[in-house]
Amino acid sequence: MIEPYLAFHGVTKRFGDLDVVAQPFSITVERNEFVVFLGPSGCGKTTLMRMIGGLETPSSGAICLEGLPVGGPDHRRGMVFQSYSSFPWLTVAENVLFGMRYRKDLTEQQKLARRDNYLELVGLYEFSDAYPNKVSGGMRQRVAIARTLAAGSDVMLMDEPFGALDAQRRERLQVELRAIQRRDAKTIVFVTHDVEEAVFLADRVIVFSKRPARVMADIDITDRLGAERPLELRDSPEFFQLRNGVLRLLREAAGDEE
Amino acid sequence: MLRISQIAAAVILLGTVSAPALAADTIRVLSPTWPGFAPVFVASDKGYFKELGLTVDMKFEDDRANVMAAMQRGDIDVDMRTVGEHQGRPRDETTPGIIIGTIDKSVGGDGVIADGSINGVADLRGKKIAVEPNIPARLLLQLALKKAGMSLNDLQIVEIATADTAAVFADTSIAAVGTYQPFQSQAITISPARKGKVLVSSVDSEIIIDVITARQDDLKTNPKKYQNFLTGIYKAIKFFETNPAEFIALAAPHYNLSEDEVTDIIATSLAYTPLAEAKEMIGTPGKPGKLYGIFDTVMQLNLENGAAETKLSAASQIDPSVLAAVSP
């Protein structure tokens, strides 16, 4: 058997008396797979993702990347947050460059080349010298994505990164993110409570119950919608159908009170 | 007077909590901001101390608690204040500071001002009187009340800061204020509606005397230094008697006052004690002077009004040996 790329092995997590995950649970993520953790607000999906990043430690069990248990945070597992995702005192270009600040294996030249490359990739090259407060919320999220990519992350961990954006910007960024992921071949674990976002972005959607979280469903989206996700896909009946199915599951997951 | 370099030096020294070394030729003085102590400045400015090989550093400090702290620490060698304040709590027999001379006496400089309707201390019974604790006016008031068969308990005492005299006297609920110059005159002028008058004044009393106090341990090691200090002071007082205008011109800038203001304060408030008078006050080791009696009277008053808590004997608080060695 081939060792999975990223795996939760019998993980539980508790904060004091509060269980995030009560039952030991296991999931695996393939290399270059786009996995979305979907669940009701407060179910603990964010905590699970933070454990991958090394920002939390499991109470029992282990999380392995390429067969080795993950330790504290490092540049191979980058985070993109919903807010405060870029440093306001640095320009757009400086923010991206900051991603490589602690990498000693790159020369200054290489760092600058990578910076320009990723600025270009997320379409922010012309805003290089702008400060984050002078660009839109969507651009700020793109700065964070470019920084994480430039840092050399193999796994990108995204915590509701588009949660604060308006609908239009959100759609555009979703399309772009999916394209970047396809082109740059990145493994992405993405947390959201928005069903449409989950279905549109994911290769696989993992639905969690309310707290303490249990895996309710593991749905292969690429199987049904294919790997290419043009914007028009949202209007297709297949997408609708799948979205409604996941939505029903999520309602069950949220329990009776809603 | 202005020492920028000292501030820089202090930054380096801040945190090192050690008493400065004593110098055999330096005397550090703290005194209230009162022209009665001006002879020290004039003696410095005229070079009298220098002639005797003495350096005197005098700074202002109105708050007696701070002066006592400084002397306790050995940061200053000399304090100048009235006999009455000298006795105030928390002084006991072990507190550093012994009287070695007199410098001036209050002649109208301290007193109690009252509303026009008050004709004698007897009229103050049950009324509100404002006065700071442990100032000469309190003793004068107490002495006057005693003569009228009353005590401070027959009045309602309100405690104030003397610098606020004028503002307090403008309040008609206050019948009288115990104060000192220049507030005493100012308060009467500023509130003409009250038809204020001086009810009790140090002009009529001999008990308000400013004394020079030295730290015993340093006095014991360097008696000659203090002898020189007193010599310089009485020389300056003599200079005042022969040449008041020049004396005042030298003194005024130290107090940020004009010459006219200093002239006025001296004329209405005080008299310096020349060497002969000081000797009469202090006496000699064999023959105690007038100050001993005054000391005991004031001590009694202070114990009664609570400003002092330990009964001190004049003999333990006055050392006539230094002054006895000073010759004209």
Partner: protein, 284 residues
């Protein structure tokens, strides 16, 4: 769909009832939470100040108040000129400024690292906060005799008292600034491979800097308010000394002149620091 406007004429935009409140004119200076140009702000500020001075002058001249307690601005100004010529007022002001800056710098140099540590390490915070909260409430004037026992009557006591009034307030403000740095910034730095020292230096400190500079500006003002207390201890120099001596002889115009000098120094310093803040933190 095309007929809706005919069946429901009330919704037609041009037949809207006139009863709605008139839209406030956003260009009016009275617009609620409106904006005002910088020039207009300065103009209004200067105008109000001058107006107040004129009223004050008038009140003093007409004799509505006793000029011993409230001298007119012109008297205060002429006292100030006299003090500059005869009492070395500017030198005293210079000495006071120097004292304040020395004591304040000392307070800042100590408070910044300690405040940062208090928010970075729970142990340090737990150990120091009760003590600092206690000392912070102590009345500085009451501690004067004690500080003379410790530091004597030289410069050290004056600097110590100024420091005392500033340090404990500043430490807590610094700790607060640090605590307010979004945790996301710290986590981003960690996931980029920064160690604790690098995270503190490159991210947390940078993030707290604008707030820190603002708090330094505010506490510098507090430091000045302790000047009188510090400079009447065994005094012979400084504005506090000048004010206190003038008060001793009820020279209100000179007291006011001294106070005004402090006010002017404060105003100028504050504006200067604000300008520096604006330039240094353009990204805000």
């Amino acid at each position: 769909m095309t007929d809706i406007s005919e069946t429901a004429p009330v919704t037609a935009p041009d037949s809207r009832p006139a009863a709605t409140a008139p839209r406030p004119d956003p260009s009016s200076i009275w617009a609620f939470r409106g904006t005002l140009s910088r020039r207009a702000q300065i103009g209004i500020g200067v105008g109000t100040s001058v107006g107040l001075l004129l009223i004050w002058e008038a009140v003093a001249r007409i004799g509505l108040v006793n000029t011993t307690f409230l001298p007119s601005p012109s008297t205060v100004l002429s006292s100030m000129l006299m003090m500059v010529q005869k009492q070395n007022l500017l030198q005293h002001a210079g000495i006071s400024t120097l004292r304040v800056w020395v004591a304040f710098s000392l307070a800042a140099v100590m408070a910044i690292p300690i405040g940062i540590l208090m928010s970075s390490y729970r142990v340090v915070g737990a150990a120091l906060e009760p003590i600092i909260d206690f000392i912070r409430y102590l009345p500085v004037p009451a501690l004067v005799p004690l500080s003379i026992i410790w530091f004597g009557v030289g410069e050290s006591t004056k600097l110590y008292l100024l420091w005392l009034g500033t340090f404990f307030q500043l430490v807590l403000l610094v700790a607060d600034d640090m605590r307010r740095v979004p945790h996301e910034y710290i986590e981003i730095a960690h996931t980029l491979g920064a160690n604790t020292r690098q995270t503190l230096r490159d991210v947390a400190f940078r993030a707290m800097l604008p707030g820190l500079v603002d708090n330094l500006r505010i506490t510098l003002g507090w430091c000045w308010t302790y000047l009188i207390i510090a400079e009447i201890v065994a005094a012979d120099s400084g504005i506090g000394f000048v004010i206190w001596t003038a008060r001793r002889y009820m020279k209100t115009p000179e007291v006011m002149a001294g106070v005004v000098v402090i006010g002017v120094i404060g105003l100028v310093t504050d504006q200067l620091l604000r300008a520096i803040h604006r330039r240094a933190f353009r990204y805000l």
